[in-house]
Amino acid sequence: MGAMIEIKNLEKRFGDITAVAGVSFNVERGEVLGFLGPNGAGKSTTMKMLTGFLDPSGGAALVGGHDITADPLAAKRLLGYLPEGAPLYPDMTPESFLLFIAGIRGYSGDEARRRVADVVAKVSLQGVLRQPIETLSKGFKRRVGLAQAILHDPQVLVLDEPTDGLDPNQKHEVRALIRSMAKDKVIILSTHILEEVEALCTRVIIIAKGRMVIDCKPSELAARSKWHNAVRIDVEREDAQRVRSGLGEIHASAVEELESRNGCASYLVSTKDRRPIISEISQRAQAEKWKLDGLHVEHGRLDEVFRELTTVPN
């Protein structure tokens, strides 16, 4: 048995525009794949092909071994999908909407009601079940969208920007929910928020101009940053000069002065080969009795890696 999701050289052209130009990857059970890329890079288009909304111009997408174009019903039964912006029927209530989804998923009577009650509890929709969806806040709407995606406990969950437009508390809730389901499913989610990838995903794919530019673990992504293992050091202003020259003596390093805050001078020390230098610095600090205010190791700046990878000079 192959991977739960197999994407083979998937392509999509709209007229002369190539939205997705040959994307291939597999996803196994238990993986949470973060799908990153600038707007218009082809994230949503790839997800729309994977879920069977758009037909690929080339290549194939298989869900649980079922080709989404050749055997769409079997593939779609395994899928739960939250489209971008969580589209819903504004006139329906969450209850009637979820019962409708339950019907389509093949449940009826008590089984349907039990399924709906389960997901309602999972995403905390109890208070708004009988209100028209159009009167709900963005956070509740997103939860209704999530509820319909997970109602049949799908093996594969595809979420297109699940936390977009939510406030920090709502984001936290949605992430907790995704994390709780991650163990025995395949989850693919797209996002703009890089921290979300670190917090949720076991794997990250960055796509730019319709092509995959990287496929790795989130920690490896951070390691690509030139600030990986860099040390940020805050010292009291009076000691700044001494520390600055001391830092300059560390082998093959670059020292950058950062914006100072509350009367401290801050420096960012990095090396070309990104080797760990924290112990070297702390030894020197102790030996020379620097008046330190703070000492932090940078793990790498994801936004900088992201920019580097997605704005390749032509």
Partner: protein
């Protein structure tokens, strides 16, 4: 089949969760009443029939009212983005097209059935041929189905319900107007071929409607409406396939 029923139920319920259904039914019944009693001269005729005073106005009444039912079918779905939700559920496109059409047709049927007080009135006042009345109701409903299939197709072309409405009115009008005698004569004077003129005339709802409404249920008329509905639903599915991503 199961899926079609679930989808059908949602679609039909959707008419009644908004005021649209009630407004539509009220206006339909109001117009039916006005046309029958004022323009149709229901009482002045002094005969117990519904044909000339009631059913005769349906082809024209439907041109404005049926597009109001059908305009939202796909346009709204695409505007809201719910089409993406719908088409990634384990349902087929034919199931979607069929369930939407059937729900709108059922809704039209409900509105039509609510004109029953007229039927009661005519039975109270006299002794009408109820067979003819039943056939007329059938003809009217079939014609509504034809208009709805066209409207559903047009609704699949655009995201904008107003455009869908206006285009549907025009398409429906085209399928009516060739049967109007004056237009028929005009066509005959510009088009030299009689066969073409006859073909155009035979596409008009008017002739097929009035022959069933007279109580003559001819298979050819039934086949006309059934195949017209079939063709437009097929085109509807093709159009969705083409346009869903826009």
């Amino acid at each position: 089949m199961r899926n079609t029923i679930v989808l059908f139920k949602r679609e039909l319920a959707a008419y009644f969760t908004t005021p649209v259904a009630y407004v539509f039914i009220c206006i339909f019944l109001l117009l039916c009443g006005i046309l029958t009693f004022y323009l149709g001269g229901f009482y002045d005729r002094g005969e117990a029939t519904l044909g000339p005073s009631f059913f005769e106005y349906h082809p024209i009444l439907y041109i404005l009212l049926i597009p109001a039912i059908s305009m939202r079918l796909w346009a709204e779905e695409r505007k809201q983005g719910t089409i993406e939700l719908l088409m990634t559920l384990p349902v087929t496109l034919p199931q979607l097209v069929l369930s939407k059409f059937l729900a709108s047709w059922a809704f039209a049927g409900i509105a039509l059935a609510l004109t029953f007080p007229l039927w009661l009135t005519v039975n109270y006042l006299g002794d009408p041929d109820n067979g003819v009345i039943l056939a007329s109701y059938l003809a009217s409903w079939l014609m509504a189905g034809g208009y709805l299939a066209m409207g559903a197709f047009v609704s699949a072309i655009t995201k904008n319900q107003v455009i869908a409405f206006v285009l549907s009115v025009i398409v429906c009008l085209l399928f009516l107007i060739t049967g109007v005698p004056a237009v028929g004569d005009f066509l005959a004077s510009v088009i030299p071929s009689d066969t073409v003129v006859d073909a155009l005339r035979s596409f008009s709802f008017l002739s097929h409607f009035s022959s069933i409404a007279r109580g003559v249920i001819d298979v050819r008329d039934l086949v006309f409406f059934a195949s017209l509905i079939g063709v437009f639903l097929f085109m509807n599915a093709v159009m969705i396939e083409l346009k869903k991503a826009d």
